[in-house]
């Protein structure tokens, strides 16, 4: 509360100062691509990350965005975060089933879409990263992704006076360190919220489902909602949904527990239209094929989720209705939001 009052006063002071310098006090402010705020959408749960120790500002957001799009974060200056997380595909990577990093190396997992990250309770398909601020340094140091060292990244950024100025704008001094790098990137990616799909409009009373979409919604609630829980369309738990067993042990890689073998973090079903291929290893190419997996492709194993032991029953018309509903979860606004574009 105190902080908020301080912020308000501070903003007022700032605004007044700006005005006093302007020649024309009636000049209308031009909307900028750094107008950013973080608002919890109505009827959504409280976010897990609320920028409490990392106050979201236009300067911090703009710096984080520049870093996200900067190839200098990789060893040979060829790969940026955006190389694997493109805005037009809801910040997923679609031209490769698994990620594509420096020196043409393939990773072993599919680059996930990035949105509503502030609600995530862990990061990566196996949940190995326990805090959103710890996430950005993982791809930087991963040998098959950006393969860069933190001292090198910081030296490269320090060599650029415009970066030093931006760090000063965002954090008060020109110092560039790991913590500031982490926090700035989080100001960008943590502020990406996708809540403008048709589904959201319906929930807000601004649109209505077609008969098929409505029927699909009912099917969704019966068959999928236990894991892909509304309104984020994931409960962030780790489950084995019966994919073919591979060398990737999923959650067990982190916990070391046999009971966690082949469990992966339940992904959101928002924006599926943009994010194919699907699953942790990008092994399924279309939504139709995903539904076929649930009705006839479930692989039995000791950790298979109990709710999927007997597959899911869906008729052909059920499937098309379910797909009609899933299509209402695509948010065509955030994939072209200018604030999230390459600066």
């Amino acid at each position: 509360m105190k902080n908020r009052i301080f912020l308000v006063v501070f903003s007022l002071v700032l605004v007044c100062n700006l005005w006093s310098c302007h020649t024309d006090p009636l000049l209308q402010p031009v909307p900028k691509n750094t107008d950013i705020s973080f608002v919890q959408p109505a009827n959504w749960p409280t976010p897990n990350y609320n920028f409490q120790n990392n106050t979201l500002t236009s300067d911090g957001f703009a710096l984080g965005r520049r870093l996200f799009y900067d190839t200098r974060l990789s060893i040979d200056n060829t790969i940026s975060c955006a190389s694997c997380h493109e805005q037009t595909t809801a910040f997923a990577q679609i031209d490769h089933p698994t990620s594509h990093g420096v020196r043409n190396q393939l990773g072993n997992r599919n680059s996930p879409a990035l949105f509503n990250l502030a609600w995530h309770t862990s990061f990566f398909w196996d949940g190995g990263v326990n805090h959103i601020e710890n996430q950005p340094i993982a791809p930087i140091m991963n040998p098959v992704e950006m393969d860069e060292t933190l001292p090198n990244v910081i030296a490269k950024l320090n060599a650029d006076p415009t970066y030093r100025q931006q760090f000063k704008n965002a954090f008060g001094t020109e110092e560039i360190n790991t913590q500031r790098l982490q926090k700035a990137i989080v100001q960008f990616m943590g502020a990406i919220v996708s809540n403008q799909s048709k589904y959201d409009q319906v929930k807000n009373g601004k649109a209505s489902f077609t008969a098929d979409e409505q029927a699909g919604y009912v099917l969704f609630q019966q068959k999928c909602n236990t894991c892909h829980a509304e309104p984020l369309f994931t409960d962030f738990s780790f489950r084995n949904n019966g994919m073919l067993i591979t060398l990737d042990s999923g959650r067990a890689h982190i916990t070391g527990l046999a009971s966690d073998r082949f469990k992966f973090k339940v992904p959101s079903l928002r924006n599926l239209n943009f994010t194919k291929p699907y699953m942790h290893n990008g092994s399924i190419a279309s939504i139709g094929a995903v539904l076929d997996h649930y009705t006839s492709g479930i692989v039995q194993s000791p950790t298979l989720d109990p709710s999927l032991q007997n597959q899911i029953t869906l008729s052909a018309t059920d499937k098309s209705k379910l797909i009609a509903f899933l299509n209402t979860l695509n948010d065509y606004e955030f994939v072209k939001d200018v604030r999230f574009k390459q600066p």
Binding site: E133, A138, T178
Partner: protein, 251 residues
Amino acid sequence: MKNNVILFSLLCLVLFSCIKKDDPIDAGLSSNAKVTFSNFVGNQPLVLQSNWYLNANGDSFKVNVYKYYITNVKLTKSDASVYTEKDSYHLINEADASSQSFVMADVPEGTYTSISFLIGVDSARNTSGAQTGALDPINGMFWTWNSGYIMAKFEGVSPQSTSTDKTVVYHLGGFSGATSVLRSVTLSFPTSLNIKKGTTPNIHIDGDVAEWFSFPNVIDFAQKPLLMTPGKDLVNIADNYQDMFKVNHID
């Protein structure tokens, strides 16, 4: 414009006056305590990258990298009252002499009988996002694929090692439940520590690398040359090294 200048100067004034107040090196007036760590293997001083040593299993080894976190340092008085160092995170790095001692500021005057600390970084700092200073991941003591600090790091070579390059690499991490390698240590002082304004007594603590491999779990470099994921093997080493420190003397 004029207003701005005044505002700015006021801000500066406020800021500077704050900094002054917090300055620990306020000569003559503050009462401090210094802690110095010296590492040995048995009774021989640890020398990186040159000397050969023997472990309890009879394997010979050389040490290339040796680092550990000392955190949450406390001093206890004879009347049981406790001084707790603020923001108490120290990375002791054998390769960097300046990292091997630190000064704790504003310790209340009096007679202290013991020191306690954690080997490793408490679980709170493992789960609260981006950190800086001793906890900056740039120090190479942070696992990015499985968030958490490497509490202690031993890297060396041994002819008995079965890894390629004959390396022996132990990265001790894990901060929760059965895989936690966090160990708390309390050491009594051989002579009491007297804190007085204007002086900085130095608590000399010796650490013994050989303890990592000896008791209660004898470590065999041939069997386990590389340990870098949380689990029982690392917990065994932590159980060994929790007794590796003793206070040599205070001066």
